[in-house]
Symmetry: C2
Subunit: 317 residues, 2 copies
């Protein structure tokens, strides 16, 4: 185990309250006043989760989006956020960050409720998002053999966008936009929550997150690489061969919904997709067993050495 | 205005939701499901809010205590916390931190609900505390001319404890304990909330926090230095002359309750003090006017150049 996962294990030992969900879910789920609060806290660190020359407006967007994506994965709508902000000494950066924060909060109709500001040498930004769920809150652990595995949107665009910014791929506006301005799937999450058996968001890479869903649900997941939703922009920049598809499935930062649902819900899921004009694509099956198995058009594909970010820092509970 | 206060002003412009209380209170206060949630988020940065050689157990205690102190100041009891933790690369430090976190959460019967962990070069620790208030939640702005100003516990011990650790004063165990293990006044806050007109905690220094209460309540506060509750340990280490009292009143990190209450509540406040064996001391008066005026035994005392930490980072909303 890595040092980080050992640390998280030691925190888990403290998190015995049922609302903590063992620190293995995207968010805490607290019954309060006959209603259901969903609480999440994610940090972004400069040099790790964003680049020093990323536009500050986009960093603010991403800070909001990654937290609201956790709420979306639990079918919750945002109630408000608290921000933790470190002033690193550049007033213009801070001014542009606040402008981006305003844009993001306005886009998702989410009020700023409070926070804390410190002066510190490095930029560590954090957000606590408070949400409310109107129905049962899907965990990662409810998947059952026979369920289909689905994913929203397209996979790999954000990772390819980062490669554009690093000069490893030619600049592609839609890919860079996916990296800098991910869209939390709030409307889809709320509509899907009553239909699914398990749901989470894809933050660290489709394969590693699918493996986590399999582990939490005590099933094996068989995932068909050929079924992966890949965008035209991705294909134009990267092509579409197997290694490229594996790269898309391990790059992370997608902030799409990954969910397991019984076969009988397929028509309802397709209706959600049409109502929201958001692709929802079946990419695999849950089976008795453990772990992750890859195929492409019925042919077995060996798992890549890395399934994604081991601890990209996006989530630990 | 400082860069930090300019930044906070720009955040305030976004915080129009009534639950945010204009980012001028110790916490956000959100009506939810017919009950009252109190939410606060405070950060501790190594080298600013704690010393690199402070025991990690005590840093964990302080992280919990400073956040619960905000809940105490709003009369709320803790419901749970989310942690934001940066792994800086020392497994033993992290192990001791988790042990201290367990001690602190157990002491205040507060569950760990979630959080996020990142690897980062500097230690930036944050906590979001979620609390519930059973009655009206005092703000900083409800004080009225004629109210008495009160403070809990003693003032200056923590600041003197820090000076002990810096070698500027001889080592004193009770003073160092006050610096390292402040006690959030949760029981007192809950009992006082129905009696007071305004309440906050003293984090940045008694004088600067009293000036903030005066400003929020649009009154002048007349504070009697002679009435300041100074501990025996403090007097033994520092003496008791005027400059020493001014140092106690501007050092910060006290995490005591500062509150304004009408004269008719004095007997009830004294009953709370007796029930909890916690000194509650009248130290001044709210008057028509603006700002802060110091006296000592009826004689006017000039305000010191600094009233406390301008933005110690303890609170911004």
């Amino acid at each position: 185990v890595s040092r980080e996962s050992a640390f998280i294990d030691s925190l888990r030992a403290l998190a015995s309250h049922p609302a903590a969900r063992g620190l293995t879910d995207d968010a805490a789920v607290l019954e309060f006043g006959g209603r259901t609060l969903v609480l999440t806290h994610d940090m972004l660190v400069e040099g790790i989760h964003f680049l020093p020359d990323d536009p500050p407006e986009d960093v603010a967007w991403k800070l909001v989006a990654v937290n609201l994506s956790d709420l979306a994965a639990k079918g919750a709508r945002p109630v408000g956020v608290l921000i933790g902000y470190s002033l690193a000494g550049e007033a213009e950066w801070d001014r542009r960050f606040v402008a981006g924060l305003e844009t993001a909060l306005h886009s998702f109709s989410t009020p700023l409720l409070g926070g804390d500001t410190v002066s510190a040498p490095g930029r560590t930004l954090s957000l606590t998002a408070i949400g409310e769920a109107d129905g049962p809150v899907p965990s990662r652990s409810g998947g059952e053999p026979g369920d289909r595995l689905w994913v929203s949107g397209s996979i790999g665009d954000s990772g390819a966008g980062l490669r554009c910014l690093r000069g490893e791929l030619p600049f592609s506006e839609p890919l860079v936009e996916s990296y800098r301005r991910p869209t939390p799937r709030l409307a889809a999450g709320a509509r899907l929550a009553p239909l699914v058996r398990a749901m989470m968001d894809v933050s660290d890479g489709l394969l590693i997150d699918a493996a986590r869903l399999a582990s939490a649900s005590r099933v094996e997941i068989e995932l068909d690489l050929a079924a992966l939703p890949i965008s035209e922009a991705f294909t134009a920049a990267c092509g579409g061969d197997r290694s490229t598809r594996l790269a898309a499935a391990t790059a992370g930062d997608d902030y799409e919904l990954l969910f397991a649902a019984p076969p009988g819900t397929t028509a309802q899921i397709q209706a959600v997709s049409e109502a929201l004009a958001l692709p929802l694509t079946p990419i695999g099956l849950l089976c008795a067993g453990a772990g992750l198995r890859l195929t492409q058009d019925g042919e077995s594909v060996p798992l890549p050495a890395s399934l994604g970010w081991e601890h990209g820092g996006a989530h630990s509970g």
